[in-house]
């Protein structure tokens, strides 16, 4: 199998720095990471090691200072913003720790908007919501839902358009253990049944244990587990 078929996501020698006042802080320092198609990967590491920055770069939400990100065989380095947005629309779904749902819309409409942006029809939303166990609260604003319901809705929004890659940034960070388990089961199901590639950032070894592979980051690099 060629590399482009085997790896759906590749980060090659990524560097990223941010200006904090007068100081430039190097967050990623030549990071390399390869994620196989259909893999469930957990990225662990201490706070400030660059996990969320890595996830934003992998999701084309930000640009690296140098290095390349290859998604499904396509080098995104020199892509313009609109082409990158098109890749986000088609191939990527995001799950954030703080949900990032639009409170002005109902749960249902949050998913409908996501599909509308992607030019897809909204026929399967009710079925999806039912499978996520949030059908009964779907007409409410997310701010009237419990944390667990909001995160399940976020997962539903992230996978509604059937992406190839799910990027999750501390998806269980705000949840109790029961809801954490539910969300992890959703990820596993999407990964195993639908072949969705999952990259999940987490602090928790218990959460990370749900993944098929765990990599560790420190000082802007992968230090262990990058095979």
């Amino acid at each position: 199998m060629s590399n482009s078929n085997r790896y759906i996501l590749e980060a090659i020698n990524l560097h990223k720095s941010f200006k904090a006042g007068e100081v430039r802080e190097h967050v990623l320092r030549g990071l390399d990471l390869r994620v196989e198609r259909g893999e469930f990967l957990a990225v662990m590491g201490p706070s400030g090691c660059g996990k969320s920055t890595l996830l934003h770069l992998l999701g084309l939400m930000d640009k690296p200072d140098s290095g390349s990100i290859i998604i499904d065989g396509q080098d995104t380095t020199y892509m313009d913003e609109q082409t990158q947005a098109a890749i986000r629309r088609r191939k990527i779904g995001f799950v954030f720790q703080r949900f990032n749902l639009l409170n002005v819309l109902s749960g249902y409409d949050n998913i409908a908007l996501s599909l509308k942006i992607r030019g897809l029809d909204t026929d399967g939303i009710d079925r999806l919501l039912a499978s996520m166990g949030v059908a009964e609260v779907a007409r409410k604003s997310p701010e009237k839902m419990s944390m667990g319901q909001q995160q399940r809705l976020t997962v539903a929004r992230a996978i509604a358009h059937k992406p190839d890659i799910l990027l999750a940034d501390e998806p269980t960070g705000s949840l109790d253990s029961a809801n954490t388990q539910t969300v992890l089961e959703m990820f596993k199901r999407a990964n195993e049944q639908d072949g969705l590639t999952v990259v999940m950032i987490t602090h928790s070894p218990t959460v990370a244990s749900a993944a098929s592979r765990v990599v560790y980051m420190k000082d802007g690099k992968i230090i262990d587990g990058n095979t």
């Binding site: 939400m61 986000r88 629309r89 990527i92 954030f96 990032n100 002005v104 819309l105 409409d109 908007l113």
Partner: protein
């Protein structure tokens, strides 16, 4: 699904209402100020056009603009000449009304006070819907006859007419219009000092014809130090208005007088106050700019508040066009709501201004309503495009991390 711009407006009802109100105030301000500036001059023009006459005759030596005319430049001889005026061998004048115009203050309000004979008042001023309440001053011309006799009989008494006698004989009586009455609080039976004399208000006429205050012609002449046969100008009613052009031409070419149609008075006002119109338009332009800035700041604030939402949309792969359309749609809905509210508020604001300052007139002009709509729409688009452009350039990762 509920469109996102509408969902935003409905979710943030108070904020949306306040934003629309901001636009509404700007639109209302623009319409009202332009209406106020032009309305007051327009009201004067309409009052002059509201008399029951067709032409104004005044001394030829007066400038071409009679909007500030005063004194007693026409006389009895001119009246006789006009009465006998013929065009094509036929008499053309139905009636003539000589008046004197006196500048004065009625209860601290500056206004033109028109001296007119009581019988001419009914002829020139009164019309259906504009009927006098109370009574006319010096109703049987007793004062006028007494004064004329007094002035034409040289004696020591001529120089010593007492105020008490003037008042007793009906010379110090006044009719005011309803606006002046509202503005000053004067009513029939009240006494008011004008030109050092204590006048009694004997009647009230609905506002809108010629002047705000009327006194006997003889009193005006006496106050202006004119002989009883001198007048400021003459209004003429023609038998047939189709002869107006010929009549004016004849007066202008064959006499020491000049004539003009009532319609010309508006042009004269515009010519006289041209510089004021420039000032008005400058003020209106500044108001327009302030209104647009107001709209810009209001909408910019809204877009800034949408940063997180825009970042979420970008994380889902929303195109720039999609984001721009969402922001513009919301801005246009709010601007539209504000514009409608502003247009509806403007007549209310005008009515309030006229209620508290009855001598001012706010005339809502369709032209300025249209300008306000265009200004609000333009301001709304400009105001939304810039922050939308900023929003599209935002780094979603940064916003979702920090906010």
């Amino acid at each position: 699904m509920l469109p996102l711009p509408l969902a935003n407006i409905l979710h943030h009802r108070l904020r949306s209402l306040l934003s629309a109100l901001g636009v509404a105030i700007a639109v209302c301000m623009l319409i009202t100020l332009s209406g106020l500036a032009r309305g007051t001059l327009e009201e004067i023009a309409k009052r002059w056009q509201g008399v029951n006459a067709d032409i104004i005759v005044y001394p030829a030596h007066w400038s071409d603009n009679i909007t500030t005319i005063g004194g007693g430049g026409v006389g009895r001889g001119d009246l006789k000449m006009l009465k006998s005026l013929k065009v094509g061998g036929k008499p053309v004048i139905d009636y003539l009304v000589p008046i004197c115009i006196l500048q004065g203050k009625v209860a601290k309000v500056n206004c033109n006070i028109v001296g007119i004979k009581p019988e001419d008042f009914h002829l020139l001023i009164e019309k259906p819907g504009k009927k006098l309440t109370g009574r006319i001053f010096d109703p049987h011309n007793k004062f006028a006859k007494w004064l004329e006799a007094k002035l034409t009989t040289p004696s020591e008494e001529t120089l010593s007419i007492s105020r008490a006698e003037l008042a007793r004989r009906g010379g110090l009586e006044m009719v005011i219009d309803t606006r002046l009455a509202r503005s000053t609080g004067l009513k029939i039976g009240d006494k008011v000092y004008v030109a050092g004399h204590r006048f009694k208000i004997v009647g009230e006429i609905p506002a809108g014809v010629l002047a705000r205050a009327f006194i006997p012609l003889a009193t005006a002449q006496w106050l202006m130090d004119l002989s009883t046969g001198r007048y400021t100008l003459i209004f003429a009613k023609l038998h047939n208005t189709s002869t107006m052009g010929d009549v004016i031409r004849k007066i202008n070419t064959t006499s020491r007088l000049k004539a003009t149609s009532l319609g010309q008075y508006r042009n004269m006002l515009e010519a006289r106050f041209g510089i004021m119109y420039l000032y008005i338009d400058t003020v209106n332009t500044i108001t327009l700019i302030v209104a647009m800035l107001f709209v810009l700041v209001t909408l910019y604030t809204i877009v800034i508040q949408h940063r997180r939402e825009i970042a979420i949309l970008k994380s889902m792969g929303a195109t720039r066009r999609f984001i721009l359309r969402e922001i513009l749609t919301e801005a246009m809905i709010l601007t539209g709501m504000g514009t409608v509210m502003g247009i509806l508020l403007a007549p209310v604001a005008g009515a309030i201004i006229e209620a508290f300052l009855p001598l001012l007139t706010v005339e809502i002009s369709p032209r300025w309503v249209l300008i306000s709509i265009l200004a609000a729409a333009g301001g709304g688009i400009l105001a939304a495009v810039y922050p939308a452009w900023c929003a599209m350039r935002m780094n979603p990762a940064e916003i979702l991390t920090l906010e």
